[in-house]
């Protein structure tokens, strides 16, 4: 089976500063991949390269088995869900409008839209009464779940998550994790999760990419990386996962 995302000798620079270099990766289809590493290791940049928010300085990106279509990104991005730290919910739209915005813009019928929103809110344990609220009226955890609902509204083939679970208390976080696992079983097949939390990575992902200063320190199945860290940096990171 072709990988869902392929990095072929990818480098990315901001000005003269190299953020990522010499990346070769094949992320498995139908699974959740976690990208981990210390801050500044290039995790978010890697995610931005996948949906074309960033353009690689070198190398070729392949997503869904084909090169990223930089001239038709709109269509392409609608096949990819995106949820982000701080949720990025639009403050002027109600929760339901945030979740359903893209469905309305892509011509979904009203009934299909309404039932999909209800289904997702139910799945992420968001009460119906929250639908008409504005984002700022929700708790942090509720906002993040709403952000995930929005990301998966169009039934994306690939879901990108940029630290979407950070910034909430541990109990809420555990709850969101459970919801997410339920979701990834039913609504999403492939996902790429960027996180600085090793425990979260190991709990949610079956495949791990460990970044170290813009390079891949190790990539492989989670249990394998846990059992046989490639170097001290990976070993130290993995140790934090067991706490």
């Amino acid at each position: 089976m072709t990988p869902i995302v392929e990095f072929n000798n990818i480098a990315h620079r901001f000005g003269t500063q190299q953020v990522l270099g010499g990346l070769n990766l094949a992320l498995p289809r139908g699974e959740t991949t976690a990208v981990v590493g210390t801050s500044g290791s290039g995790k978010s940049t890697l995610l931005g390269l996948i949906n074309g928010l960033l353009y690689p300085s070198e190398g070729q990106m392949r997503v869904f088995g084909a090169p990223v279509p930089y001239t038709t990104l709109t269509e392409f991005r609608r096949r990819i869900g995106y949820a982000v730290q701080g949720t990025g919910l639009f403050p002027h739209l109600s929760v339901a409008d945030n979740i359903s915005l893209m469905a309305r813009l892509t011509g979904w019928s009203r009934t299909a839209t309404v039932s999909r929103v209800a289904e997702l809110m139910d799945l992420m344990a968001l009460e119906e009464t929250l639908a008409s609220r504005f984002p700022h009226e929700l708790s942090g955890g509720q906002q993040q779940r709403a952000g995930i609902c929005r990301a998966v509204m169009l039934k994306p083939e690939l879901l990108l998550l940029d630290e979407p679970f950070s910034g909430v208390d541990p109990l809420t976080r555990a709850d969101i994790h459970a919801r997410f696992q339920e979701l990834s079983g039913r609504a999403v097949s492939s996902a790429v999760l960027v996180t600085h939390d090793m425990a979260e990575a190991v709990a949610l992902a079956s495949y791990l990419v460990v970044l170290q200063e813009g390079q891949v320190a190790q990539a492989g199945r989670s249990d394998l990386v846990l059992a046989q860290p490639a170097n001290d940096y990976v070993a130290q990171l993995m140790a934090s996962a067991r706490v």
Binding site: N51, L53, L73, T74, E75, F76, R77, R78, I80, Y82, V84, G86, G88, F90, P91, H92, L93, L101, M102, L105, F134, H136, R150, L154, L160
Partner: protein, 496 residues
Amino acid sequence: MFRALAIGTLVWVAGCGAAATAQPIVVGSKSFTESYLLGEIMAQLLEARGFAVERRFGFGGTLICFQALTAGEIDVYPEYTGTISEAILKTGAPLARRELVERLAELSLTPLSELGFNNTYAMTVRSATARQLKLRTITDLVNHPELKLGLSHEFRDRADGWPALKRAYGLPQQAAGIEHGLAYQALAEGKIDLTDAYSTDGELLRYPVTVLQDDRGYFPVYRALPLARSDLPTAAAAALDELADRLDDDAMRALNARVVLGQNSFAAVAADFLAAAGLTAGPAVNESGLWPTLSRNIVAHIQLTLIALSLACLAGLTLAVLVYRSEALSRVVLYVAGLLQTIPSIALLALLIPLAGVGQKPAIIALFLYSLLPIVRNAITALITIDPLLRRVAAALGMTQWQQLRHVFFPLALPHVLAGVRIAAVVSIGTATLAAFIGAGGLGEPIVTGLALNDTSLILQGAIPAALLALATELMFEIIERWLIPAHLTAGRATL
């Protein structure tokens, strides 16, 4: 806002249509008492002879009025021979009647028969001062450099006015500018010692002032006449020629005094004069009352600001959307809009006359230019300060550029954008009062007339409704904001 735009366009189109169907004779005047009065006399006489007449009174200065005439915005207005020679044709010397006719014919203009009086400049001092300093002639001023001169702006600046007078007599004083309508009061209250007056001013009968003798015969002769376009219908020209030599200096001064001192309306004084002169059957004054005049002015005022504001919204927002992504372009646009803002409004209006004529068009253009800055500035600022995270998310969700703008950026920018439009609207309502100087009508009309007559109640007839209109606009925007913007997004709104 789109609805307002549509209504504005409709009003405009309707206005243009109405103007095109009727072809009345348009009588103009400058913004001082005698000019209004002569304009009204001409208008009533034409009406009595069966012509449809439109009055466009109160143009702010000779050149504006003359431009209006050559541009065909007005058909005839009262002018003075000296002014035609010196200020319009710039001949440097007074022209004989025959030369005047020839030179004006080149411009497709015709001077009709002179009305009889000579309204020349008269240097005027308080009678008490004159007695005290033994001032009788202009030459006597040479020994009193301490006298404070407050001269009308036009006189102070025209070549045949103060600069030449100062040279001719060797006068040592410096001159400040003052609105002519306010000069007598300033003189009486001792704020200034000397001002230029017109020899037929009604105020000369009201205040204890003395006219200094022009002992060197410096001032040219300013004989009043209707200055008309050559395409004025012959019958209309013949009607106005009936006024020939009907008014001498004393008669004109007395008529002016009836307006200024007796608080009679131009229309009433004009009607009485025409009847007394046997030119009309009797005083049939179709004077419009306070309310019709007021409502006409308010409608004209709203029309001016609404059209200008709608166009500025359209252009300003389009411009902001086009340039906000580029910092350099945004800077250029804001700089240019800011530059426009620094041009004094009355100067901008005057500058626009050669390009757009007089009346509503240049006024709308000027108001449009002034409205641009607050609208563009607020829109650009709002667009560039949108949270980068929301920008990234909007793109990542797969929205097109237009969808991002329509569904995310614009709604988020709306509070700022509306605040900008609100500022533009309120400022426009104020600035639009100046548009009366170029014949655009509106609430500036009673203000300009009131200034000319030094009539506070008339000034207030323009100033109070303008202030109320500004307040109502504030209120309306308050309601629009409440209606369009969720409460939590207005929390940081700047209160004016």
